[in-house]
């Protein structure tokens, strides 16, 4: 087995006395796409925020063997971690191009940081919509374009592990498919990915491995193929009462 890239050991996060994540352990191997599933309030977003250092956590976080647990966000960015948060956190009043350039801020002392090097052009090739809107303020973009910009901005920092928090949120199905294709392609190019999704089917289809969170703990994990067939995954989303009815529904929607 290859050395894991990211290793979280018994991670716990508390808001005051309320524990939102309880003793979660998970690993991401280099170049793999791992997804974290779970109902609302299961602790998925909290988990990502803790891994990125947005929230303080107990436990241990190792990235390529280095202990990150007490490092601030910026230091984790410097190590090659990147998070696209649920709210995207774009610079709304700045132009698309400035948003992208700031994505390469961590390279500002090198030649690449100058004008994003060749990466800026690469992003415009990857996301032609952004090239059309390069002078437009980020806040005026549509939901799908914002997600594109958030991804492109993160990629400008050349992350080695990219964490995405519900990239499909508020996007029309067609765009969800496109985003998922893009995520899968990044994995194929060697970027390790940790994907939090509510769109379980889409996520499991591209993931190598999955974890299911409930009440802040991992209740299920395994190969994504195994999880796809697991009734408990369906239960997490549609409720136990509806499992029987949901399964035929699944057939109806194209299986």
């Amino acid at each position: 087995m290859t050395q894991p890239m990211l290793e979280a050991e018994t991670l716990s996060v508390a808001y005051g006395r309320v524990e939102a994540v309880r003793g979660v352990s998970l690993t991401v191997a280099p170049g793999r796409l791992v997804t974290v599933l779970g109902a609302n309030g299961a602790g998925k977003t909290t988990l990502l925020n803790a891994l990125m250092g947005v929230l303080p956590a107990r436990g241990r976080i190792l990235f390529e063997g280095r202990d990150l647990t007490r490092l601030p966000i910026e230091a984790r960015v410097a190590q090659g971690l990147s998070l696209i948060p649920e709210r995207r956190e774009l610079f709304a009043t700045m132009s698309v191009e400035d948003n992208l350039k700031l994505g390469a801020f961590r390279f500002r002392h090198t030649a690449r940081g100058k004008d994003g090097g060749g990466d800026l052009g690469e992003m415009y090739r990857l996301f032609p919509r952004l090239a059309e809107r390069r002078r437009q303020q980020a806040g005026t973009l549509s939901g799908g374009e914002r997600q594109m910009l958030a991804m492109a901005r993160a990629l400008m920092g050349r992350p080695r592990l990219l964490m995405l928090d519900e990239p499909s949120l508020g996007l029309a199905p067609l765009i969800v498919a496109e985003v998922m294709r893009m995520v899968a392609r990044l994995r194929d190019e060697g970027v390790a990915i940790l994907l939090v999704e509510q769109n379980a089917r889409a996520a499991l289809q591209i993931a190598d491995h999955g974890y299911v969170l409930d009440g802040g703990s991992v209740v299920l994990q395994g190969d994504s193929r195994t999880l796809q067939g697991d009734a408990r995954v369906v239960e997490t989303y549609l409720g136990s009462l509806s499992v029987d009815e949901a399964l035929p529904g699944r057939t109806a929607s194209g299986r």
Partner: protein, 345 residues
Amino acid sequence: MDATILLLLLQDGVVNGAIYALIALSLVLVFTVTRVILIPQGEFVAYGALTLASLEAGTLPGTVPLLLGLGGLAFLADCAEARHSLDGRTLLRLGLRDLVLPALVAAAAWILAPMKPGLLIEILVTLAIVTPMGGFLYAVAFRPLAHASVLVLLIASVGVHLALTGLGLVFFGAEGSRTPPLSEASFPAGPLLVSGQSLWMIGLTLAIIVALWLFFSRTLLGKALIATAVNRLGARLMGIAPSLAGRLSVSVAAFIGALSGVLIAPLTTVYYDTGFLIGLKGFVAAIIAGLASYPAAAAAAILVGIIESIASFEASAFKEVIVFMAIIPVLLWRSLRSAPIEDEE
């Protein structure tokens, strides 16, 4: 009041307003980037004026030991901040920035001061002494409170103001100082006589505004500051540390403050506590602009300067009162059109 007097007052108002504009701009910058309402901005003004006056007199300015002391404190604060990733390289970098740089500036001041090297060199030395203080103060006083509310930061800011004013008294004494003007020349313009000094003031103000605009629109570092102001978390996720942005913005404020001090020192006698009132007038302008818009702050500052100059002609004893009362209609107007009840984050 006849037309000539009015013109004269307007000219005065614009010149003073230029200084308030510089101060208001730096206040808006620091507030949007760090959420700190920088009350001690006025102290940078006083320090700039008094440091230059000391150098003019051929003595080592009191701000030099203060700079060294603040640098030492900032070094300790930086080490504490970086304690989880403190290695030799980091230590060297912090030492260079917090200890060696102030020492070099101090050495330069110590060598140059007795030589009376002329106004230009003296101004440069003054700026070199005061500017780094901004970053040091941020590291020592404000960074540990980075997660506190605007209100707590404001109270801390008042604390810094108290301490710096007291230290100003210690290092410069209670006597005021005045420096020679940047230019003795004057030019007739209609009924008015425009002094070279006032041209310098307006010219430098415009130059600073252009420089700030270039910094924000052309450099990645400038954009990083705006990004921090627009979305702090977003900026952090790009690797832009709030402490970097904070340090930089308060240093810019200190630089602008010191320069303002250099510019007003020939016009009025500056005492260790003069800066507070000057700074507050910058505040009035910044508040009128809602602590958000740079052009609005600059325009409001000119207005404040004009109100002050007319008020000092009409009712000189109450000029401060009249200037400060100018914020009432603005606050009232803002209050009436304020958004419905929302939780502050």
